[in-house]
Symmetry: D2
Subunit: 365 residues, 4 copies
């Protein structure tokens, strides 16, 4: 729709000669905390999003050993709060932002360790690519963490983690820290030094209350901004995706595209996104499938859950294996290619873009 270089190539009618008067004017602007629009328009209002953030792939094979090393050297506890190592977008120097809106980290908890409770305005989730043995306690409700599970800790929920086993465990955290920090909206509060409940039930109270498809407790008729479901279990996600492929085999509409099954995790009180700022999805591609090249406003992060394949990011192909993570900044073109069956967890800032009417996409046929 818009040409990439249109603004750059235009004859610029507002660049006066460099005269003493102009210099005096610009100095006076600076003295009064003013800046002219005409000298910086192309940066402020590009013809399409030109993110500083760059597409990047982090290899799980390198992340995990570093997390383990941190487990050996860094104690976990009050003050630092979490042994979480943030993925820092190479284009966003000096910030542990994976994108302008999103934070993603690998978190590591050693045998019998506890990460203390706190709460914050930032919305958070955990996704478990491997391992088990840790429970996250959210507002007093202990939630088991196992491979393939998505756990939510929506803004202002108290939460801590503890490892109930003699083995370490790692997982990924996703939050809207960069958004909240740049927008100045975050509050933070310490809670208990130890988690408030060391029980290790298979299912959290939130799942027992809400984990029944199509049923809503009569005691919970008030809609909530974030999903009340504490954990979305792998068994259910896997079954949903499996059924989509079976239905596709039967010639029924079910998949999002041929060979491409996908679900969105939702808030059962509204049918909408799990949290006000973060969308979570899971995608499964049949072997050989290649998705349409597309560009979207907003940024998204993927983690390979299982399988092998590749992602084309801005024209460059990156191979993918289990655990690998990558970020697609705003308006960067991307396409997925499945070598084997390829399972991917995905999260993004799409709720922000949609709620504020900025969403746009461009899909190649």
């Amino acid at each position: 729709m818009t040409s990439d270089t249109k603004l750059d190539k235009v004859e610029h009618a507002m660049q006066p000669d460099d005269t003493p008067e102009i210099r005096a004017l610009y100095r006076a602007f600076a003295d009064e905390h003013l800046m002219p629009l005409w000298t910086q328009l192309g940066d402020l209002m590009p013809v399409h999003p030109k993110p500083k953030a760059v597409p990047h792939v982090w290899k799980w094979s390198r992340l995990l050993p570093l997390a383990k090393k941190a487990g050996d050297l860094i104690p976990v506890g009050r003050g630092g709060e979490r042994r979480a190592i943030g993925l820092s977008n190479p284009g966003l120097d000096g910030n542990a932002y994976i994108s302008p809106t999103l934070w993603s980290a690998i978190q590591y908890l050693g045998p019998r360790e506890t990460a203390p409770e706190h709460r914050h305005s930032q919305n958070a989730f955990r996704f478990v690519v491997e391992g088990e043995g840790v429970w996250t306690v959210v507002n007093g409700d202990p939630i088991r963490m196992s491979r393939g599970d998505l756990l939510l800790t929506p803004g202002w929920s108290f939460h801590g983690h503890h490892n109930d086993t003699d083995s370490p465990m790692a997982w990924i955290d996703g939050l809207d820290i960069p958004f909240t920090q740049q927008m100045d909206v975050g509050f933070f509060e310490f809670g208990s030094e130890r988690v408030t409940d060391y029980a290790t039930p298979d299912y959290s109270r939130s799942e027992r209350l809400w984990g029944h498809a199509g049923l809503r407790p009569l005691s919970q008729l008030q809609n909530t901004p974030a999903s009340p479901i504490g954990a979305y279990r792998w068994e259910i996600t896997n079954r949903a995706l499996t059924e989509q492929f079976l239905l596709e085999d039967e010639g029924q509409p079910a998949t999002t595209a041929q060979g491409h099954a996908a679900i969105r995790y939702v808030n059962p009180t509204t049918g909408g996104d799990v949290m006000p700022t973060i969308r979570c999805e899971f995608h499964r591609l049949r072997p050989g499938i290649e998705t349409n090249l597309r560009q979207d406003v907003g940024s998204t992060v993927f983690q390979v859950f299982e399988g092998r394949g590749a992602v084309l990011l801005n024209g460059i192909t990156h191979t993918l294996e289990k655990g690998d993570m990558f970020v697609v900044p705003s308006w960067i073109s991307w396409s997925l290619q499945a070598e084997t069956q390829l399972d991917l967890f995905r999260f993004s800032d799409a709720p922000i873009m949609e709620r504020l009417n900025f969403m746009r996409s461009k899909v190649e046929d």
Copy 2:
């Protein structure tokens, strides 16, 4: 808030003497298709709802034999469409209305019979209090019917039934026929004489696509006025209620009142009611529990699914056994009493009342 007799007892200032002139005026009104408000205000605008419909209990022990008898004598087929016997509120003479908004019937299908396909604006559901062996085919999707299941056929969905076994089966139908008939909103269309798919799968395609708590197919992001879930299975309903009582035992908030577990069946695309005019719920009372006496705008129907107890309707106690059905018209006081654990399926016109801002309730402490 309002006194029952206030309007009746008021000095009526607008009752002129019966003079020839008044008679002439009233005759002229009639000639011009006019009617004065002042002669009929109390009926048109009572101080609180004074339904013609009356509370009434139908005993399953009487309904079922009559349905069987109808099975012997009445063939099922095109024209009459369904061997459905409507529960006719004694206060609404001449109409098979269980209330001014709701229709409820016992439907009966003999061995190997088929009820032909059709569609209509009326929203419908089936609830199965006993038996199995029939499949309802909704827009080509065969849906098994088993004890405790709730099946939806929202307005304008093609649907038919067929009995795949050598035994008869009965269930209840609920529709908004009285509402649609009085409001003149209904359309009807015949479909196939035979159901369009005689397959007998355990789970419908709708369940395979949507029956995963908290997960939404990425191919189905458009919200729908009615739930896309074809069947709400007893196993899931029972598990949800069981968990509520277990959570209550653990001292956790879960039940709607002490000893009273309850769920609402919902549309997963919105978290709201399953259909635009009909609310469906399931209630479970522990033995000995008695619910608060209450009055609500709108009418509701219950069917006892299991257990023994009683209902107090307008001050009169009626004993209840499995399969028994009763209607509570608008603003009639009611309270449930459980002798054993008491399981009840419930439906009502509450979405109409809420969407049009007429809902009111009064609950005794």
Copy 3:
């Protein structure tokens, strides 16, 4: 889409011979308050809406003299409450319903008379086709009534009327009485015998607070189910319609069809209908314009405000003059024809139909 006679012409497979056994079965049904569906399906579920209500035109030249006569003979006061004469649809015998959902009446108040205050669940409006001098007091706020004004008294607002002049005044009332009576949702309460404020300001407090296009008082950020605007003044309505025609003359999109200007009165807190059950609109046709023949679910009432023309109702043409009123029941075809410029006030039950997902229309090209 559906053939009118389809259901009638079908071979009815469920009409058994009249045998003693069948008679016994039907008698048993009656004893148990049961009614079979198969004997009455065509009435309960017609192929399209077949309203008992009929299209009908009431001539203002006959209504007004009868209202005046009632003014001479019938005092106004507590008990009858209002000197309101309801337009009774000839198809709905014995009820002062203009349609199954709507009530419409001509109300008449003599010099210096007061109609006492009361409130009810029913939503009400007044529209003034001629005259002035009465104030309606809504929740203590006196609202002037003048030609062309629409006044709202949403459900459960206290309201009364008083005539501040030495001349009588008539206007029309519109309410959802038939809906509320059939659905059993109405409450009623007496208020003050005299209106609570006899002031006669030009503009009500509600207008002074809300009558500023695009501006919302910061003290009123809570949305309300009904519009907080007490009166929609003729000057504003007329100006809006005039501008639409001027814009049309300039070749700009503004009118709803060529030569057909129209506005909907809305609730400024939501942009939606003024009341939960009643839609109000004003239409203006240029001389010679004929609207498309159309059918809609739900019923609508028109009053000619100014001009001459005709309405085609179910194939029959009725001429129209100032003050004439007519009703279009559900799915009855209708078209307007303007001889002079034709101004019409319109109200309908469309919010009911839309909120409950029953709306359908069919428009001829």
Copy 4:
């Protein structure tokens, strides 16, 4: 609720000694584009918003002469697009951001000048503190700009300005540029070099279609993300505020606090904010009134329209005169004091905060 220094004072359990191993680990993190959370938690997740942006007041008496000077030295035209001088928050060095979300500028157009047409995703408005003679053309609709008017150019609307007089004119622009730039959501496109319509009507087509309180054109029933009203005129704003004070004088609820009248400019299709990211309001304080000290999440900008007074920002009092502008960053305490009657235009990013569930306020009694 949270103590300002809580996080700073806590014993930090995760600060290991500076050993060669730790250094190697941190180096390895850097090599892999990783950053630990524990070294930077306090900055990323402060106990309450600690904006880099600072409260600041710009004096109109200094802004306007510089704008005039720019008018002498800088031509307006394609490439730079606008002679707009942005207010640059002293805490946000190197960016012309008045806050992390908002841009505000003084724009200046000399006699007979034209600022060419373009469109962008950024939402924009103009507010006129003094002067007249310029028309803004929005999607081909010429809109007069006069003192006290608010003009909207919602995202992706083509717009340009032209001065129809022999005198210069200045006004303020407000946009969401900082938000869109940091979030990478902006698109931009050039339009016509000259405005597409040099007509100078008193009222825009948008006003003629939509500027009738409580009335919605039947041709415009689709809700829009931004208000369709092109200009909110001073006459209407002033009348609304005047009425609020008159109602207050009569003892009626109308003002937002004693002596404090205020309106929010709204989208008439929804009753909500005028644009998805920007809230606009107008406030009027009676002489002597002092508002409650408050803190809010999100940033807001005021411009004094008329009168004299002061603002207390983070404990420091700044005097205010006509045209002065000031910004209140997130969670900075503020209070207004009116010496004379004090009229203020206000805009903020509150829709972002509310739609994403981050809004919080703290008001001192």
